[in-house]
Symmetry: C2
Subunit: 409 residues, 2 copies
């Protein structure tokens, strides 16, 4: 009998309990042992549940219980999750988590403790919900040098953009609908400002390239500036706008990493990933492009990934330390100004000024555009050079409304 504890009985936590109970027999076959929930930490009470006797409000009931070998942290946020997870690892327990904020901000420190204590710290559910991505990145692609990872990592923003693209719904209306359907929080900023996607690309980059990348160190743009006009121009260009977390491996082990909306060509496999789905493209030197696609969030997909990690902890009880990366001070992140991309520009003014400043451009059109509206795409250039040219353009009397990166995915 393996005793486990669950910290947090919200959406994901109750899903973890449900799977552990309903899949008891098939899980037993996998680990050759019974998995039993000994304690669930939550400040609330759930007297109606069949397992209401498992609940505790005191973390010490978990950390001090030597019978508990694996702890699932599904509370979210850094406080008190960080303190709790750290103390569980220090007490020699393996920990699994779905908490992307915790992993993105404290992963290196927690992985170091896990390594020292010879226990596992796993977090498959922190990126892509039920899509297996952390484990394939770590294991299956071990014989590859990963060149790039690019993903639609946030289901809420993908839902909003899909509604804008397919139903010409405004950003505001699409956001309201997402909130009504429970896809977006009342305060949607973590999603729509790109912070959630940022945490996820940081986790993927840390794992793939071996050094912790902190969210504060990377350029993060959300989708609040995207308008239906941009969506229409993107369509006429032959693509769609998606919020992408992207990391490229550059010379000298530097990382070109950022979160930003991007024009994605309709030919790209990422372009067809719609609604609340997530899709992650991994470019390896040997495998070529591999895409992982599925539901990036939700109670059962996420809980199933947490339970898969619990099973993995139990299987690796004797060996531990399954995932690892080193800490890093951000010196491996290339300044965003040096990042190179072709760009989309929408503005009001004279297209001739744009041609003068940018040289070769491709003009875009849309129906019913105001007479003085212009839109075009540029050649590839660094963000620094692009910004300099934008200033020049503005000086020539053109008013820039929006600019968006063009993805090569």
């Amino acid at each position: 009998m393996i005793q486990v504890a669950i910290m947090g009985h919200g959406v994901v936590g109750s899903g973890v309990a449900e799977i552990l109970l309903t899949h008891k027999n098939s899980l037993k076959k996998k680990v050759h042992n019974d998995i039993s929930i000994k304690k669930i930490l939550d400040l609330r009470e759930f007297p109606e549940l069949s397992y209401s006797d498992k609940f505790t409000k005191d973390f010490n009931d978990i950390v001090n219980d030597e019978e508990i070998k694996v702890v699932a942290e599904v509370m979210g946020g850094v406080n008190p999750a960080f303190d709790f997870v750290k103390r569980c690892l220090e007490a020699g327990k393996s920990v699994v988590t779905s908490n992307k904020e915790l992993v993105a901000k404290k992963g290196a420190e927690l992985l170091a403790i896990a390594k020292e204590k010879n226990v596992s710290f796993l977090f498959e559910a922190s990126v892509g919900g039920g899509i297996p991505i952390i484990r394939p990145l770590n294991n299956c692609l071990v014989a590859n040098e990963v060149d790039e990872i690019a993903g639609i990592l946030n289901g809420t923003t993908n839902f909003i953009l899909t509604k804008m693209i397919t139903e010409s719904m405004s950003f505001k209306d699409a956001l309201s609908l997402a909130q009504q359907l429970g896809y977006a929080e009342r305060d949607p900023s973590a999603d729509v400002e790109g912070h959630d996607a940022c945490r996820k690309i940081c986790i993927l980059a840390s794992l793939a390239f071996g050094k912790h990348v902190y969210p504060d160190n990377i350029h993060t743009e959300g989708i609040t500036n995207i308008s239906l006009e941009d969506v229409e121009y993107a369509n006429n260009w032959g693509g769609v706008i998606k919020l992408i977390g992207d990391v490229k491996h550059m010379p000298d082990n530097m990382l070109d990493i950022f979160v930003a909306p991007m024009l994605i060509n309709n030919e790209s496999q990422l372009s067809g990933i719609d609604d609340v789905f997530n899709g992650i493209l991994v470019r390896g030197d040997a495998t070529g492009d591999v895409v992982f696609y599925g539901k990036g969030a939700g109670k059962l997909p996420t809980a199933s990934a947490v339970v898969a990690d619990i099973v993995d902890c139990i299987k690796n009880m004797s060996t531990g330390k399954y995932l690892f990366w080193e800490d890093c001070d951000g010196s491996n992140v290339m300044p965003y100004e040096e990042s190179v991309s072709a760009m989309y520009v929408r503005a009001t003014g004279d297209i001739k000024s744009a041609e003068k400043v940018f040289g070769e451009i491709s003009k875009l059109t849309r129906k019913k555009a105001p007479d003085n509206e212009i839109a075009f795409t540029t050649d590839e250039m660094s963000v620094k050079k692009f910004n300099a040219k934008l200033s020049e353009l503005e000086k020539s009397g053109v008013k820039v409304i929006n600019t968006i990166r063009i993805g090569d995915l």
Copy 2:
């Protein structure tokens, strides 16, 4: 230092050697040890290679060498691969293979030996080339009941169908082009008759549902009957024709499993998987749909999957037996006659006869169709019922040209 051997120095084998040599340092980091190639089995000689001293023509040099802990079998075919792999496992060596025929026909027996000897028998490369699918199925989806697996599992036929769909190339011309490009063998029957896809869905089904499914026990159709007329009707219906390996979990642990061309709706994520790419859809009760997409074949994608398995063997040296399924006599395979599907029919004759026999049908049209050509889709029914109705239809004077399953993917 971990000593490994490679059996076979063809396309995949030379790729395995190349990756082990060129990625020596990054592999060392992963396994905390040097991986060294001690022997390579091949009847040919390669005097020009830097590692020409490793070659042997005698299998005994490998099986009797106690220093060799992991053997990669990349010869293909069942003989002598089966005998060699069996003897390596019996000698206490872990074995990895890219040989789908071997795994599909002899998997249960080899897995049982590996289990008894406490070594690993891994075969990530046998399905989907460089796409990680075996490991995610086994590990990440452990907390799911898998309901269905459906995949485009053969790159050659997908290339041929893509050319027929996008360039209206005939089957014959597309096959010739595939042969010119090296995608198809001179004898293309294993691909175009569906046998290759059959082996792969058997492996996936065996792993997902725990009992060996043998290729001989399942209905297998290829794409040789697909014509440009069918492609055109499929397009007007709103989809494409793809060769699909499909397994559904039915009541009483029975499997509805087959390989057949299918009309796939354009909305499906599998519909956009073109050229030599493979895509595999896994439907879990908790995760929902997860799709894995990438290059299903080729030297380096496949070799990288083999090397990832070698790394996994080394990491699990003390524990072994990572994958497992039981043998089975085919009693878990549902008779194909009971399989249920909506169907596409193309025929010459009177559409009224079709309506009389099938009741509610949806008529399909195409430009420049001969006057007496008819095409339609039916409601869902069992293969048995469908075949009975087809006989009835033929009796009424309609000549059936082709019938294709309609996928719900």
